[in-house]
């Protein structure tokens, strides 16, 4: 087991290094003086050209590309992402302020899509070929075909502008302190974000459940005379659940991409809207920092999921 974990991590590290190097190349090639995002505004304002040249030398910016890359990487590992081009705010502060909002939204959407998706998928599988199954399949297709932001716009128009039940957007007002105060703001963004993923989970859950129901141990359970619900839920569902949970890893890129758009639609103050803002302002250090963080998250989660699968299913770690 340990050998498997070590092997997976060892495969991941060169990937992460290669990607971070490419991102650094992008950062290096884009306009904007490297000094300006490595220094705070106070240091910049008090500096004359000679002082800047000295700083440049001290920061290693006159060194060859590889050395500069390692200096940058070393800074990253210590949590130093540099300063934004617009405003000169430390990027790590920005991220620390916005990350909780994104994580909150993503976590709720992940839970909602897992719960709804697996329930609907299992209903679909248990009534295979029925009208319910066909309707759910078509509804799932509709769900993945409608752009998330269009869903969001319709939801805002109906529930916020016309009915006035929910706030138009944003995350919280100053007097809102607890999670429950913020809940109305969370309802629409998280539901809209979960729609596409729910449809995906439903599809996988249906296939996994059908697969599980065809296994021999289900016949055994049935022939023991167990009631049908027990066979389906305790024996079938438990086996079908594993691929569904593993799917969290596959859903992560969709979740990150989706949250960029959904945060924009609902003015949710998370990393996604920061990313869009930075792309608009061509604030490359922030763009690259967010891109790097999202890639590293995807890589780490995929390793974690692989290890979890290996723990659940010994065939994975013993095979090849």
């Amino acid at each position: 087991m340990l050998a498997y974990v070590i092997r997976r991590v060892l495969i991941m590290i060169p990937m992460a290094v290669a990607i971070s190097f490419l991102i650094y190349l992008g950062l290096d090639a884009t306009p904007g003086d490297a000094v300006s995002f490595m220094l705070s505004p106070e240091q910049m304002s008090g500096a004359n050209p000679e002082r800047l040249a000295e700083l440049r030398e001290a920061l290693g910016l006159n060194q060859p590309l590889f050395v500069r890359y390692f200096i940058w990487l070393w800074g990253l590992l210590q949590g130093n992402f540099g300063y934004t081009l617009t405003g000169g705010v430390p990027i790590s502060d920005l991220l620390a302020r916005r990350l909780p909002a994104t994580l909150e939204l993503a976590a709720v959407a992940l839970v909602l899509s897992t719960v709804f998706g697996s329930i609907l998928g299992i209903i679909s599988a248990l009534r295979r070929g029925s009208a319910t199954d066909n309707t759910l399949t078509v509804v799932g297709m509709v769900g993945v075909s409608i752009p998330e932001f269009f869903f969001g716009l319709v939801a805002i128009t109906v529930f916020a502008l016309n009915l006035g039940w929910l706030p138009v957007g944003g995350r919280s007002m100053p007097q809102y302190i607890t999670f429950w105060d913020r809940l109305p703001h969370l309802v629409m963004p998280s539901l809209v974000l979960s729609i596409m993923m729910t449809a995906g989970v439903m599809r996988y859950a249906r296939a996994a459940m059908l697969d599980a129901l065809n296994k021999d141990f289900i016949k055994t359970a049935r022939s023991k005379g167990l009631p049908e619900w027990r066979v389906n839920l305790l024996h079938g569902f438990r086996v079908a659940l594993t691929p569904v949970v593993v799917l969290i890893g596959f859903r992560l890129p969709a979740l990150i991409g989706g949250s960029v758009i959904v945060e924009q639609v609902f003015q949710w103050p998370g990393v996604g809207s920061l990313f869009v803002l930075s792309v608009r302002n061509q604030d490359y250090p922030v763009v690259m920092a967010v891109a790097l963080i999202s890639v590293v998250t995807v890589l780490v989660v995929s390793v974690v999921i692989d290890v979890l699968t290996a723990i659940i299913d010994p065939r994975v770690r013993l095979g090849n």
């Binding site: 502008l161 016309n162 960029v260 967010v290």
Partner: protein
């Protein structure tokens, strides 16, 4: 006692079998003719509906000048934000441009971006994948690493990052989609190459001394075409959604070109959202319908080309 002699109630399968036997005895049972793929596709009702909707929308965008007299880019400040009327079927937008004309002409660009990027990335993916999968070696290893790196990025993050570096233009958007999109088909083509190259017929071709490209593209590729076609339709749907999303964020095709996403961009304004439904609701519905029809076609193709589902 034979199984058939056991007394039991007759069910619907017996009745269906009787009917088939009756037809056979009357000599009216025809052997199905034509392509099995086509027959299976046509028997899938949703896929046919999808194909019809898809064709209608594509034809409407191609023949846009015949369907509307308005110019999608002509600003008319005397006719701002008019609701739908006989003159302007879907009303006008903030600068008095006819929304119906913009939806039709916008479809041209949106479909070009979606379908064009999907087809080009499929061509690149198939060529690289077939060659790398059949030959293997260092070329394959390098391609594999590159595709792994690209696929580690969430799609939208990669696209937006490249947009920020390359800048916004129609061709840049397509290039960016292709850069991010060829990997899926490359993997697919490579995987089917790896499994097919050990087949006996390939060994026979090799022993005849046929060249590598000939074996790859003429003799192996047709056997792997089904999943590739399905993948092209699905990535068309994904690219159209991505273009709409990007343009909605204002980071896609430049705003002076009408595309479905660019038309929707104005809906970020809550006033427009509440009072001028004709600007954003019809075009959003059109995008959804088009993507849905492409997905239905893809699903129908998947069922029709899947050899494990005979019938």
């Amino acid at each position: 006692m034979a199984l058939a002699d056991i007394p039991r109630r007759r069910n619907r399968f017996d009745r269906r079998f009787d009917r088939i036997r009756e037809l056979e005895e009357a000599g009216r049972l025809k052997h199905p003719t034509g392509s099995r793929l086509l027959r299976k596709f046509i028997s899938n009702r949703l896929a046919v509906v999808g194909l019809v909707v898809f064709s209608v929308i594509i034809l409407a965008s191609i023949f846009a000048p015949l369907l509307t007299p308005w110019d999608p880019t002509k600003i008319n400040l005397r006719a701002m934000l008019q609701p739908p009327s006989w003159e302007h079927w879907l009303g006008t937008d903030k600068t008095g441009r006819d929304v119906f004309a913009r939806v039709l002409y916008g479809g041209r660009i949106s479909i070009l971006v979606g379908l064009g990027s999907a087809v080009v990335s499929a061509i690149i993916g198939v060529i690289v994948g077939c060659y790398a999968g059949y030959v293997g070696g260092w070329f394959d290893a390098i391609c594999m690493r590159i595709s792994e790196i690209i696929m580690a990025f969430p799609e939208l993050i990669l696209v937006l990052m490249l947009v920020s570096i390359l800048g916004q233009s129609l061709s840049n958007i397509m290039i960016i989609f292709i850069v991010g999109g060829w990997c899926g088909i490359y993997r697919l083509a490579r995987a089917s190459m790896l499994s097919l190259r050990e087949e006996e017929y390939v060994q026979a071709l090799r022993s005849f001394g046929l060249s590598v490209p000939l074996i790859c593209f003429k003799h192996i590729l047709p056997n792997a075409l089904g999943p590739i076609m399905v993948n092209i339709t699905l990535s068309t749907a994904a690219f159209i959604l991505a273009e709409a999303g990007l343009s909605f964020l204002g980071l896609g095709v430049p705003m002076n070109i009408a595309t479905w996403g660019n038309i929707l961009n104005v809906a970020q304004d809550l006033g427009v959202l509440q009072n001028n439904w004709w600007i954003w609701l019809p075009v959003g519905t059109t995008i959804s319908l088009f993507v849905l029809s492409v997905n239905f076609i893809g699903d129908g193709l998947r069922d029709a080309t899947d050899p494990t589902q005979q019938g």
